[in-house]
């Protein structure tokens, strides 16, 4: 199962080398880590390279709207208990980035791969995974992405007949709909605060009934499957009913949910929950997310929230009032250019926090907050916002490119 039983063909080897050369040139030119361009060059030379690189690995795929980068890190850390792991830990999650990451780990036993939700079916076909973790699906960048239910439909088609173990969130009806075409599913009660993309039954269109944590469609009988793993407060419940404590450096309910799913994935590879969860403690900031930085003699925690579901989970983990909050929103093409989603987020939950708003679309935020009836200040930039924040650790929440801007501004 492990190591390179068969060497790569000459064509594949050349493709890997050419890809590495392109990545080095890209890095030298100061254009990022180079992982994507390296993978693109390599895939052009050998279109089957991804498949060939993966065939010597036990592959885990991780996909979701939110939490895939963090969960990929958690699973990789857990599986290192059993052997070397190669992973696209930096979040380059489309085929080129994945190819580049796998090419970097020729002696690895496991490949733990984050996959963009639009590419899951194709990558799953190419790499013959042993396990696929599915965390959640919700609205994200609707001006350029597929409709959320259509994504679930594509997952469902791509996963039918999959031999991999699917480890899926029983609390997200769209994920359950997508996963239940597969014969081999481990259901995890991982929770999902955001519910507004699943009021309509994905199977028949009936109105979903959602009493407490349960959910079902009264019309067609599609319902929440019985989970074998569960997140319960600060513990993971395993299939034997044992409760294992979660110790993470990462904050929030959503990350505890990611840990629960990761423990279930690790168990499928023979790593016991206790070992897996202990190892997950090593994961701290993921690509700057959750990092606490020192700037202008202030502590600032950097939080990424890209869509309504992400903002909701983020609000539940920030320090209570009067902790100051900086909000930053852009609408460049990587963010989605329609800011309407701001109105799906309940900014009323920030009442009592001193709030400073920045970013390309700070005026959209200003109107949103005005209508929510909460106090706020519109600021020039990060430096100005930090200066205006009253004492206390600052919680800075930003969407995708705004988060990159913020990291640069505070020297992260």
């Amino acid at each position: 199962m492990s190591g390179n039983a068969e060497p790569l063909s000459p064509r594949s080897k050349l493709a890997v080398t050419a890809g590495k050369a392109a990545a080095a040139v890209s890095r030298a030119a100061g254009r990022g880590s180079g992982s994507v361009i390296g993978g693109k060059v390599a895939l052009r030379l050998d279109p089957d390279l991804l498949q060939r690189l993966a065939q010597h690995l036990d592959v885990v795929l991780v996909s979701a709207t939110n939490g895939k980068t963090t969960t990929t890190r958690l699973i990789a850390e857990a599986l290192r208990a059993n052997g070397e792991v190669v992973s696209n830990a930096l979040g380059a999650n489309m085929p080129a980035g994945i190819t580049s990451a796998l090419a970097g780990g020729s002696s690895a036993r496991y490949g733990v791969i984050e996959v963009d939700e639009k590419y899951l079916s194709g990558v799953a076909r190419d790499v013959t995974p042993k396990a696929i973790a599915l965390l959640n699906l919700s609205r994200d960048q609707l001006d350029r992405a597929a409709e959320t239910r259509m994504l679930a439909e594509r997952w469902r088609e791509g996963l039918s007949g999959q031999k991999a173990v699917i480890v899926a969130n029983a609390d997200d009806p769209l994920v359950v709909w997508a996963a239940s075409s597969s014969p081999n599913v481990v259901w995890v009660a991982a929770g999902q605060e955001w519910k507004d993309d699943a009021w309509s039954c994905p199977a028949c269109g009936g109105v979903m009934q959602r009493p407490g944590d349960d959910w079902f469609c009264a019309e067609c009988g599609f319902r929440r499957p019985t989970p074998t793993w569960a997140l319960s407060g600060d513990h993971v419940l395993d299939p034997h009913g044992s409760a294992w404590p979660i110790h993470l450096q990462l904050p929030g309910r959503a990350n505890r949910a990611n840990a629960a799913t990761s423990a279930a994935v690790a168990a499928a590879f023979g790593v016991p929950p206790q070992t897996a969860l202990e190892r997950m403690y090593a994961v701290k900031a993921v690509a700057g997310r959750y990092d606490v930085v020192r700037y202008q003699d202030r502590d600032i925690r950097l939080l990424l929230a890209k869509n309504p579901a992400g903002w909701l989970e983020t609000f539940s983990l920030i320090d209570p009032p009067p902790a100051p909050v900086i909000l930053s929103v852009n609408a460049r093409s990587a963010d989605g250019t329609d800011t309407s989603w701001l109105w799906d987020v309940d900014y009323g939950r920030l009442a009592g926090h001193p709030i400073c708003v920045i970013g390309d679309r700070k005026l959209d935020l200003a109107v949103r907050l005005e209508v929510a009836g909460v106090q706020f200040q519109v600021c020039e930039d990060a430096a100005d916002a930090v200066r205006r924040c009253p004492p206390g650790r600052i919680e800075a929440i930003a969407n995708y490119t705004a988060f990159q801007d913020l990291r640069r501004a505070v020297g992260n």
């Binding site: 609707l142 259509m150 309509s200 109105v207 250019t337 309407s340 109105w343 109107v367 209508v371 929510a372």
Partner: protein, 242 residues
């Protein structure tokens, strides 16, 4: 209705609330309360009857399948048509706008019947999806400033003689028919392709709906500083693309 209360009905948020459509309800609610009105907001799911005693009904945008389901359930229910017969105001966006018309093309590629509250008929465009900022001059009858919004639709809506366009676009596609029209209205029923949400970008439309429901010509002014700043920025961005 009394002069001091407003019944605001948000129709089918379980199906048609994909593009921040709650924002339109929040803006009407906020601006009515700022005028001292007692606002009752009712969010009606698609397995509940539509009340016929509302003053303003809002219906939003959504994906193709929920749009078909919403039209089927609204037709079966009949409440929205009765409310309009009683003089209620309807403001419909995108998928909701198409449902107000005679028919639209559904997710199965078939024609679905709409409610016939607007003399419009929608089909699906062959060209690329209309996505981006929109700028338009509002129908002179409405006494509104320039409209700004964001469109994201494949639909094309043809207007019949029983409606007037809500606006003429300067930028963007609007109804997608190539004649420069955007949205449609007659009496108390309004439809538009604009998100943003449109009432956050154009608060005077929200005020127009409130005035219609109270049957008054003017409302006490409220602080529009941030709305105005946002409007200026979006209008400038639309007219001077980067």
């Amino acid at each position: 209705m009394s002069d001091t209360s407003l019944r605001l009905v948000w129709v089918y948020p379980d199906l048609l609330s994909t593009y921040g459509d709650q924002g339109n309800a929040l803006v009407v609610e906020r601006r009515a309360r700022q005028r001292g009105l007692d606002v009752q907001r009712l969010d009606v799911r698609s397995d509940q009857p539509i009340p016929t005693s509302g003053d303003i009904y809002l219906i939003g945008g959504g994906e193709d399948r929920p749009q078909r389901l919403a039209a089927e359930r609204l037709l079966r229910d009949g409440g929205l048509n009765r409310a309009v017969d009683n003089g209620a105001i309807v403001f419909a966006v995108c998928a909701g706008y198409q449902i107000m018309g005679h028919e639209f093309v559904n997710d199965l590629g078939e024609r679905s019947a709409g409610l016939g509250l607007l003399d419009v008929t929608s089909s699906r465009g062959e060209a690329a999806r209309c996505v981006g900022d929109v700028l338009g001059d509002a129908d002179e009858y409405l006494g509104l400033p320039q409209l700004t919004g964001f469109e994201n639709h494949q639909g094309i809506t043809h207007l019949g003689p029983g409606v007037r366009p809500l606006a003429r676009v300067r930028l963007g596609n609007g109804n997608g028919t190539g004649d420069g029209t955007e949205g449609a209205w007659r009496d108390t029923v309004f439809g538009t392709y604009l998100h943003g949400p449109v009432l956050a970008r154009n608060p005077l439309i929200a005020d127009m709906l409130i005035k219609l429901s109270l049957d008054v010509n003017a409302l006490t002014p409220v602080d529009d500083t941030w709305y105005d700043a946002l409007r200026q920025e979006r209008i400038a961005a639309a007219t001077q693309p980067a």
